[in-house]
Symmetry: D2
Subunit: 328 residues, 4 copies
């Protein structure tokens, strides 16, 4: 398997693949020669490419993970699918619905599978919630609310590329679509610009679903320095017969050291002995089992990823224009 | 002191006044003779009235609490103020902004004080938060979010009279106005009708403040039978330099008995040995100290109560019309 | 009312009495002239004494609170009771069981009441738990466990005078005796000396009750600088038919400012506008209602306080000797 | 791989192995023919044995997991090791220290590896805590406390075979030994017999470590029917420079349905689509990587397992005799 794009998250992909026995990390690709050499050495990978087309031409590479910037997904994803590779594409699937549809289209004729990395579906709390919903234990879903807040220190670079609604509320949007089995028909959102970066730091989003359910989504990308949270992540799902509360990560673990209380991520990609585990490894395991076992992708499909993208782009439009935006 | 209106909450007022040494519960008023007699006996009160004008004519009564339905506040409140009584008026101050202003006007010329029972300001968690905000510990407030959810079993009767936004989000609205020192300039809200009662069971509200802060407010009045919560109540206040999380009531106390896990209210009006304590007693203590000590009312003023009413009425209009509603 | 002993907690008493309309703070007593003058000015109190006997001789003083060091309770308490004053005596009642019994004895013939300040009985969570236990909702109590941990920064001075078992586990001991209605028959305890102060910083205590129930009590007086907790306080009560969990204070309120996450006390003696509220005010209100209303003291009796003292002293003996200590 | 012993946990092993690509579940062994046939059918396993010696004689079986009762570990474990199989042995390693040593001895000369299933070491929260401790972030450990409580409904059968101290506190004992790198020198424990089964339902244990640290461990095996917890599991580790709190599982996920609030296990062996994940799968993955990769076992060694057994057996002796028991 090869990785295209070696930013912060491409490196995390590499650290995760190292822990999957069925997958060998065989190739890396990025434009910057220094970064490429450093990552090649760190992971003991020989095949190093500056142009992804060269990687795709290598017949020994069966699969690629694409971690380029969200507005640079279309070309490498379509090229990889056309080359017959299995594709693990990071979320959001693309930066426009048009791109997303083109990528989806390309996957139809490919002998490779296309999987979009909506990692939260591999968080065991949400999987357990989904099972409970499917068993009818909370009745029909009538309302949802979510929070996905992260520290200010993490986000200055990201906020030059993507805002918190498409960047993070897309996770909760995807989960809400999964839980309700419904579609979003309108959205209203408000943002707050705290630090004067390219995108506003805070997004608050509201959805109306076709079946009548209502939802709010909070995404704050400027939690203060001393916050205990790596991610302050919660969701409540209100049904006619029951209710589900998911709360990650605190207070699973709280570490008070000389600096502050830390509540580190033990769910998504915790690192132990240099190898990443958690939901990200689950994702790669699922991807491997589909690719190697010839099973169709049913989680992380491009159709689901496109629906989540469409709703969050509409929310951002609402925040920009101050108007309610209807979908479909 | 006398109580006008002896529904569920009028009785709670009586149970609270019993624990305030400076106040004597001397008179009760309600239209239904059976209820009046029963309450008179329960509290050992001799002066029983079916018409509040008779109570107001009694020179031995210095103060009244008004617990009539929210759309029946105007007449008794104005009459009491004109009679020179001190008035403890339950929230919402009225059912229309016009009524609220008329009541406020009546208070200007009265020798009695007018206090509106916005009880959450007497919850020690919110008072502590207010102090921290005033000390500048979290910088400028940029976003807020709140939840105030209650069990379905409590609400069928209430939902024939008032909905969750004006009924409950008004608490959080008042607190947000207090914390920000700002005013709401626009609102968008969505409701969900779960049980087909007169008002919808669920409200999700979004505010924009004049200074740019954004807020969401969740009010679910149909939590399932087995929920542990009496009130699932939370607020997060995000500042430029810090953040505050308030969480009442769980997990302060969890009682697992033969039926379920209970997380009873120990904050607002817990009853011990037949007498109510908590924030409601704080409120009455504050009311008594203003009334007896000649101090001006600075918490629970009619102006603040009117601002909170105006914002929540606008939110309800938004939910009804599907449009953003601007204020002022 | 007068206060004897103006250390840290005597001042808190004064700040609390200021909020009790039935009580007038009329006199102060401490040996240090500077402290006495400063406190007199702060609270606007005219009657300032360096010898408590002078205060007790003043017929205008009806009641005293005694906040001297725990091994200096006997003389002022007995003198005050013999002078016919109502006495609010801070916990522990004394430093030896013999002293405790002498004080109790003195209260029998006095026209003043004797109340021992076991404040946790006025925490609404424990009161609610007690009610649930008395209603039979959790069946017969078979086991209990508690924690009462405080920051290291608070304790260097205290640890020169008293250790965490008699100093703090006595609260939970008193509550466990109250909840079970039973007595402790044996104890085993271990301490850990972390900072080399006069008393060890950490105590872990185990009790066996006469009726067979078992209990553990944790008291750590050296939580690190960045702990969010003012008090990390919890109790679980396991019954044959149910279970109760009490958790104070976090996460009621969490304030993240520039230094760390704070979870300040909003239960015991929170200060708002310079006046203390919470359980400490409840205690003074109860004391006033007994003293003024001629009601017998049933909470905070010297007999209960002596039983809690006896158990914790036995636990400290166990920790010193390494042996199990049996009682009674 | 084969499984010896097909009780409740042997079946869970089978459900877990199904999700490990490197391991094939090839053989099953139990005495009861009906159970053997049913499990063979459920998991599609052909090789079914009633005598484990027959399984061990099969050269196609490289590894076995042993899930027999804790006092029936010695013979199959030694036989399997002598047959050169890799052995995954469930905790406790044995029912006596003598048996544990004999099994350990047998592993020395075997070409198979011996791994003891101390699953909590694979819980990411404890692993994260261990990392923080090893990095020196909390200084030297001075005290620990733990809870591991489970519902009464789960335990009547288990309590005929093993008590909560050796059955469950052994997990926390192992973790405490791991965290401190120390050994237990004395123990005092108390048990409470609630339901009159063979072993008492409740254990409260105290340890003293050689280096001076003190610990309490709570294990209640009779939580009431309506408790939200599958496992109420917590640990606090108090260091000279910091503190760590681990809290599994609640409130990660709370599901309120028609019966009660549930907080299901999402950490140890959650089942999704019929396959077990979580820490149990981590364990099997670790076992497979050692067995297939020729790596030595460093987690779950028989020496560590024996130390934890010895401490918990001493605690049970203390509870039986009422005396402090010293070790080593």
């Amino acid at each position: 398997m090869g990785i295209i794009g070696l930013g912060w998250f491409g490196e995390i992909h590499a650290e995760t693949i190292a822990g999957i026995p069925e997958i060998e990390l065989a190739a890396l690709c990025t434009r910057t020669p220094e970064r490429l050499a450093a990552m090649g050495e760190k992971f003991g990978v020989k095949k190093l490419f500056r142009d992804y087309n060269d990687m795709l031409a290598d017949p020994e590479i069966d699969a690629v993970s694409i971690c380029t910037m969200w507005d640079q997904h279309r070309e490498p994803a379509i090229a990889a699918l056309q080359a017959g590779k299995h594709v693990f594409l990071e979320k959001p699937i693309a930066s426009t619905v048009e791109d997303a549809r083109a990528i989806t289209e390309a996957s139809k004729g490919s002998k490779g599978i296309l999987f979009i990395g909506h990692i939260v579906r591999f968080n065991p709390r949400y999987r357990m919630a989904k099972q409970a919903i499917d068993e009818g234990r909370i009745g029909r879903i009538v309302a949802l609310s979510s929070r996905r807040n992260i520290p200010a220190a993490w986000t200055p670079t990201i906020l030059e590329k993507i805002g918190p609604i498409v960047g993070d509320a897309i996770h909760d949007t995807d989960i809400m679509l999964w839980f309700t089995g419904d579609r979003v028909v309108s959205t209203y959102a408000q943002t707050v610009d705290v630090r004067g970066l390219k995108f506003p730091d805070i997004g608050q989003t509201m959805y109306r679903f076709a079946g009548g359910a209502s939802a709010t989504l909070e995404t704050v990308w400027c939690m203060p320095e001393k916050t205990p949270f790596d991610i302050d992540e919660r969701m409540s799902i209100i049904g006619t017969e029951g209710i589900i509360h998911v709360q990650d990560t605190f207070p699973n673990i709280g570490i008070v050291d000389g600096t502050r209380l830390h509540s580190p991520d033990t769910t998504y990609w915790p690192m132990f002995n240099g190898v990443r585990g958690g939901a990200l490894r689950e994702e790669f395991g699922y991807f491997a089992s589909c690719a190697l076992g010839g099973k169709p992708v049913t989680i992380g499909t491009p159709e689901n990823a496109t629906a989540a993208l469409e709703a969050t782009l509409a929310a951002e439009e609402s925040a920009r224009t101050g108007e309610i935006v209807r979908i479909g």
